[in-house]
Every structure is written in C-alpha cells, then in structure tokens.
Amino acid sequence: MSRFWPVRETSQSDYERLREQVLLGAGQLDLAAARFGRLGLAALIAGRRLRRP
C-alpha cells in the first residue's frame, strides 16, 4: 500500500483537509466541503476525475 501515503491525489488531500477540520472542530465552508456534503468521498473523487484533462 505504498500508494496510500504520503498523499498523492487531490481528492485525497481534499478529504484529509476536511477530515482534520472536522476533528479539530474548525469549520470552513468551501467547494470541497459542499461537494462532500452532497455525496461524501465519492463526490471528491468523481469531481476530480471529471475535471481531469
């Protein structure tokens, strides 16, 4: 599982940032948070895939 860590993908770094904010109790409304709110982690992954050139 060498691919898992350190973080290499934007969807993973977006998730880790949101996760840390939640655990620290520091809310921040941004696009990634809004996407996560709609379909969870799958939304972050799918969003990055759709925008990939």
Partner: protein, 150 residues
C-alpha cells in the same frame, strides 16, 4: 450543525448515496469510534468513506488488517480487495465497478487473488456472494470452487 462541519445538509448526502448505490451493506457492523454518530461527517453508510478509513486505520494508525476490517464492517478478505483496488487505481479504486458485469472474463486476476486470500474453510457459495457484493460480478459457486482448485 456539528462543530467543524458546514451545515450544507447531510440528509441529501444519504439520499444521494442510496441513489448512487454507494451505501455500505453493513453499517450496523461499523464500530470505529469515528463513526459513533457524533460527527455527521463520518457516515457509516458511506461505503467509499468507510473503505478509505479502513485503509487509513491500518496504514497510518497501525491497526491490524483483521481489526481494521472488523471495525469497518468488512471481512479480512474484503480488506485486501479494497487495498488492491487502491494500489491499482488510487482513490477511484475505492469506487465500485459497475454492477452486472457479464461475459467470459469474469475471473480476472483481481478476483483470483481474492479467492486465493480467502480462508480454505469458506464455501464457494459464501465467496460467490461476497464477490458479487464487492465487485458486482456474479459467479456460480462451482466456478468459484473450480478456480480455487487451480
């Protein structure tokens, strides 16, 4: 609103997961403290999030494969399937393959690896059911049994 989580509405997330077929099949089996219901961000029905947190618990928190799998409602064999998907495709590997795949190439290397990692005491029917749930590939129990004998 839960501290640290923007109140963008979590019920729509639940509904969207259901529509997308991304519900965890056994959310009641999730015992990880993160998913204790105190923080809606961590939703035990979110299969993709659960898979990610299962891998994270093993890799970063050094929890054994068996414990990480059990705490997230998966079997040890399923853990290895999820890990293989991530190793091959990264984050998109956490998303399920489309269900109902048919044809002569059902027994891919990934599935054979899964069968090889399964305990020998498990029946072909059990493994076939688990493969259908995890991969969306329907196999006859005898196909599974033949593959295990190879």
């Amino acid at each position: 609103m839960v501290a640290g989580v923007p109140d963008t509405g979590w019920s729509p997330r639940r509904q969207a997961l259901e529509v997308a077929g991304l519900l965890h099949p056994h959310p009641e089996a999730v015992s990880s403290a993160l998913f204790d219901g105190q923080r809606p961000f961590f939703l035990p029905i979110d299969k993709v999030q659960i898979k990610y947190e299962m891998l994270r618990a093993h890799i970063l928190d050094r929890i054994s494969v068996s414990s990480a799998a059990a705490a997230h409602g998966y079997s040890r064999a399923a853990f290895y399937l999820v890990a293989a998907g991530f190793e091959q495709r990264g984050m998109p590997g956490l998303l399920d393959e489309p269900r109902g795949r048919r044809g002569p190439l059902k027994l891919t290397g990934e599935l054979l690896e899964y069968l090889r990692s399964a305990e020998s005491t498990r029946s072909g029917a059990e493994l076939a059911a688990e493969i259908e749930q995890a991969f969306g590939v329907r196999l006859h129990r005898r196909t599974v049994e033949r593959a295990r004998r190879r």
